[in-house]
Subunit: 469 residues, 2 copies
Amino acid sequence: VTTGDIGPKIGYNNMDNGYCSFNHVWIPRRNMAMRFAVVDEQGQYSKKRTTGSSSTAAADDSAAAKVAYITMMQVRAMICSSASTYLAMACTIVLRYSAVRHQGYDGNGTTEVPVLDYTQQQYRLLPLLAASYGFHFTGQYLNRRLRTVEGNLLNGTAHKVQVTDVHATSSALKSYMTTFTADGMEECRKACGGHGFLLSSGLPELYTTYLQNPTVEGDNHMLPQQVIKVLLKLVAVVRRGGGEEYESCDSYGLVPFLRQIISGKSSNNRASDATSLDSILDAFAYRAARLLESVATLLQSQIRNGVSQHDAWNHCLVEMARASKSYAQYLILRIYIQDGTQNPSLHVQAPEVNVLTDMARLLALYWMVQDSGDFLEDGYMKSMDWARKALLVSLSTVRPNAVPLVDAWDFSDFRLKSTLGRFDGNVYEAIMDATQREPLNRSDPGPAYEPHLKRLIVGGVGAARRSRL
Amino acid sequence: VTTGDIGPKIGYNNMDNGYCSFNHVWIPRRNMAMRFAVVDEQGQYSKKRTTGSSSTAAADDSAAAKVAYITMMQVRAMICSSASTYLAMACTIVLRYSAVRHQGYDGNGTTEVPVLDYTQQQYRLLPLLAASYGFHFTGQYLNRRLRTVEGNLLNGTAHKVQVTDVHATSSALKSYMTTFTADGMEECRKACGGHGFLLSSGLPELYTTYLQNPTVEGDNHMLPQQVIKVLLKLVAVVRRGGGEEYESCDSYGLVPFLRQIISGKSSNNRASDATSLDSILDAFAYRAARLLESVATLLQSQIRNGVSQHDAWNHCLVEMARASKSYAQYLILRIYIQDGTQNPSLHVQAPEVNVLTDMARLLALYWMVQDSGDFLEDGYMKSMDWARKALLVSLSTVRPNAVPLVDAWDFSDFRLKSTLGRFDGNVYEAIMDATQREPLNRSDPGPAYEPHLKRLIVGGVGAARRSRL
């Protein structure tokens, strides 16, 4: 047995990732956790069968494997929840700093402006704040959903499409949310300007530690294939006139739009100034359905043209990634609107619901403007000017709540470890304080003065006086 | 005088950035470089006048300031050139690794596939490779341009619009190229999967060291204001029927499109399957002109509605960033096509020109697909399907040249310092070799065995034998 440490990484260095290789090694069979599969004394591996009726997935030989697979999905759900936390921490630092940091003067030329009052800074940061809340509801939802499906599997009432559906959901969300969060955290760091470089800002450590998430537990660029593999079956079912068996599934929201697209009635009756949350959500569902259906069509046309299954699949990967991302955005917005603004279990009052509604709208408009081509391409929308205007309005609506909204996460200064993100806003004192801990700053003049610089400065440090300058 | 080190940063830590503050300190006037401005013995500051005829910018009192300003632009030009080098280094590492790393099986199920043969990996990386070459020509072009303008300023033949034009060019390019390069380098790191985390891959150090570039010498989110301030004057000139005085300027390429847009003939006669480089370049010029003109219109409508100059400007910042980015993409593609594929001074032969043409097309299509909404929105193009199809073709055209193209940069292994990007491709040996330098791996079993683990393992390490398992 050879073991070792893999060496230093870009971040997450408190985790001692290692390697290990086995050469002619026997491992005691009792070292295996044998809840769903066993190895007998002769070394034979077999799956255990769970109990259940014959009409459900649990009766299937692979039910045990499915339950085991739930564990992997649970890790993905945990990753989705932590995306919210990390993004919220980065937002807390940058939004507090952006409220303290002043730059440039307002119209009268005398009052300095907090950088958070510039629309460009708002455009960079407030959608991230909105996402941190949306991701919170999404992470909670995904955990609930997995518990339900696992319970159904164990008691034998799970329908097979439910299991694959939650696999698609967790894959799409993990892939998209961690990509968005990693990029968003780096945007937070950059939005602190030069001070975002300082390790004492807390952002470099936070960001680089987060960076494992887009890669682990299914690389973000591999997972879309898993998502599309599942959703292509839905397209096939809808094409055959079915779809109702997906009623309890996340992907059921695509069914009416898939029907519409397949029947060729795709581009009718769209309002191009749809600012209600419901019609915006419809636009996202329609777009996901359209991109999914076009992957199905592209794949079929490749195979019809004699391309091998492998090459056809490879040909469609870029479009699969696009469809998976659009599905994730649709799911997040749906959950945000349902659980953040309509779910009475939150026990929030109307003002909180209004604030969450503003943020859900901001995030939706931001995503729409970012990928405007997807909404314009088949004429579903005629213009994006209304969305850009509505986005600016949304930014100014969310702006006054920005600092309270990050305070509401209640991260302690101890946890943030950031000179820029302090609750008291005393940023500059904190930065100077942090520099005093540097070994180089222990003596004045610095340690290089005596051995090297002294002999180069005529008369020594402080020698220049006001004589003949 | 108080001085000190600012402390550790996310990268570029071999540069000892410091702070310094002065309290009642006199600095000898001879310490000032006095080529363009002087301080006399009474402490009076004045600018020196350069020689020149009265009809040119050099005769202006601020000519000296303009020449001094050239220095700042030269730093930006240097930054643009280095964007190419850094992106090329990251591409070298990831493309060599992607050719060595195999994952999954091809159609017959027996041969493992190099990850670079997946279209998704190509889509992530080959546009970056194409950009690294395009940025090379752009950096060289910008340096030439600055030398010309500086020469004209010094000999008094510079036209005022030439100076502001090159300011807009250098600002737009610095802002866009360093944003693209920083994001692209991180994409290269992520595209190495788990191995991209290792410091021994070389990518974390390369990337974090590069990260100062989007922030220094004009933050990338501030510079677009400089670009638009200059270009808005061009819009005003064209609206008044002028524009010919910009003939020697980079922004002159926008003039015919601005005229067309202002005269209201914007959306006629567009081929939606324009795959020739010239018509693609026209599309980028048209889009930059359209977004610029719409910033001008938005700004005016705000002021007409009684909004203050400050608030109106603030209202337009997001659209300014969009217009500046589209202008930068247009300039880069124009220079790529001219200097990379049509400039005889390169002394390249037809095969090289073909390869560069393929890459310029790939980059243009990639950018077009990324921002498809900009090209669709006013009906300039009817669809983007043709561009997505052409992009896939471009990827497969560039793919066979990918490794030779990074080899052509001729970075030594010593310079890349990367286990993944070695010229000989012996990636896995290099990774294991690097781990052997870790202090934790010096002894076997590791240093925690004797003091801690030994007493927890019955019989000690290696005690489990094949008896009664």
